[in-house]
Amino acid sequence: MASAEEVAKAAERRDVRDRWLLSAPALLVILLAATGPLLIVLVYSFLTPGAYGDVKWQFSPDAWISVFMERDIFDDTLSVAVAHVTIFWRSIKLAVVTTLATLALGFPTAYFMATRSEKTRDLWLFLITIPFWTNLLIRTFAVLQIIRNEGIINTILLKLGIISAPIQILYTDTAILIGMAYVYLPLMVLPIYASMEKLDFRLVEAGYDLYATRFKVLRKIIFPLVKPGVIAGSILVFIPALGAYVTPVVLGGGKNMMLSNLIELQFGQGRNWPLGSALSITVMVIVMLALLAYVRNAGRSGVRHG
C-alpha cells in the first residue's frame, strides 16, 4: 500500500501534467505561428537568394556580409554598405530620441495622474487608455493631417503671419519622430503610472522635512522609486519604435527608410530573402540586447524601499 507521501507525490505529478495539457494549445499556437518561424528566418539568412524571390537551398554567408558590407561589382572588394549603415543609424537614433521624448513628456504626465484624488485618477487613466487601444494607423494618419503643408499647424502659422510659406515637416525624419512620439506616448505613461500609483508620499514628505529642494526630492526619492516603471516604459517604446513600419511609410513617405522598410524591400522588389532574413535577425539581436540591459537593470534596482 502506498504511503501518504507517495500519494501526495503522485497527485503533484498529475497536477503538473494537467497543467502542461492545459497550456498546450496556447503554447502550440505560439510555437507554430510566432516563435517557430523565427528559427526558419535564421536558417534562411544563410541561404542563397532565388531568382524570383524565395531561396535556393545552398549555404551562403553573403546575406550576413551584406548586412553591413557591400561587394564592388567590378573588383569584388568589400566596403562598408553606406546605405545600410545609414538606415541602421537612423532607426536607432529615431528610436532612442522617441524613447527620450516620450519619457520627458510621459513622466510628468504619469506623476500628474498619480497625484490626483483616487476618484479622478480612473478618469485620467481612461483618457490615456483610449489612445492606447485606438488603431495605430488611424492615429498616424491623424498626425499626417496635422503636420502636412495644408494642415492645421501650417495654416495657423500662416494666418498669424509667423511664416510666409508652409514649413515642410511631412516626409522628413522630424515627421517620423513626431508620429512615433505621438503613437507610443501612452506606452510610456502607463507603466510609469503603475509604479507611481504605489509611491509612498510619506517618503517625499520626509525628504522635505530634511530640507531637500523640489528637484532633489524628484531626483533622489521619486525617480529611484519609480525606476522600474521608467525602464519598462522605455523598453515598451523602444522595441516597437525600432521596428516601426507604419509611421515611416505614412509620415516618411517611403523616402526616409527605417529598418522595417529596408527589410520589406528585400521581400518585395529586392528579391533577396536571405538578406531580409539576416536584417530581421539583426533587429532581433538589438532588441534582445535592450531587453537584457532591462533585466539586469531591473535586477539591480530590485531592492524594495519603505
Binding site: A33, V41, Y44, Y208, G243, Y245, F267
Partner: protein, 266 residues
Amino acid sequence: MASNFSIKHQPGFTAIAATCFVVLYLPIIVLVAYAFNAASSTSEWGGFSLRWFQSAYQNTQVIDATLRSFQIGAIAAVLSTIFATMAALATTRTAPYPGLTFKYAAINQPLMVPEIVTGVALLIFFSRIKIFTGYSGLGYLIAAHTAFCIPFAYLPIRARLENMDLTLERAAADLYATPWKTFRRITLPLLWPGILAGLMLAFVISLDDVVITEFVKSGGQDTLPTYMLGQIRRGVTPEINAISTAFLLLSVAIVTLFFFVSRKRD
C-alpha cells in the same frame, strides 16, 4: 508657507501633463471633424456633410475589408481567449513547478519581438506551407492573429485569477463536486469578467493589426487597416477620414466596455 506647501507639487509637471492630454486628442478631433467635410479635399472646409460616410458605405472594397477584419478578429479573439484562459489556469495559483518560467516566457514571446520580424517569419513559413498544401485561405491570417492575441488575452485573465483564492473550489471539492463541475459552477463564473476583458482586448488587437497582416495576407485578403494603408499611400481623400471615424467609434466603445469590466471589483 507651511499651509500652502504641497508635497505633491513639482513645477511645470501639470503644464506638461495638460499639454500631453491636449496633444493626444487634438489630431483625433481634427481627423473626425474632416470626416464631415463636404469638400472633396482635406485641405479646405466645404461645410457639413455625410457624403464621405455614404461613399465609404457604398465602396464594396471597404465593406469587404471590414467584414474580413471582423471575421478574422472574432475567430482569433475567441480562440486566443479560450487558449489563454486554459494557460492562465495552468500557470496561476500554484507553487512553482518545472517549466513554469518557460511557459511565461513562451506566452509573452510575441510581445518581445518587433512585429516586422514576426511578419517576415510568417511570410517565409506560410509561403512554404502554401506551396506544400495548396491552401491559401484565411486560415493563415487567423492562425497568426490568434498567436499574437494570446499574450493580450492572457493578461487580464491571469490578473483576475491571481486575485481569486482556492477556498471556494476546495469547498466544492469537499462537497464531492467533480473537477469539471467545480470549474463550471465556481471558477468560470468568478473568472468571467477577466475572460470578457481578455476577449475584448484580443478583438481590438486583432482589428488594429497592420504589419503582420500586411505580410501574411494573400492577394484579395485585405483587412480594413491594410486597405486603409494602401489608400493612404496613394493619396488621401476624406473617405479615409470617414472610415477612421467609424473605426474609432467602435474602438472607443470596446475600450469603454473593457475599462468598466476590468475595473469592476467583483
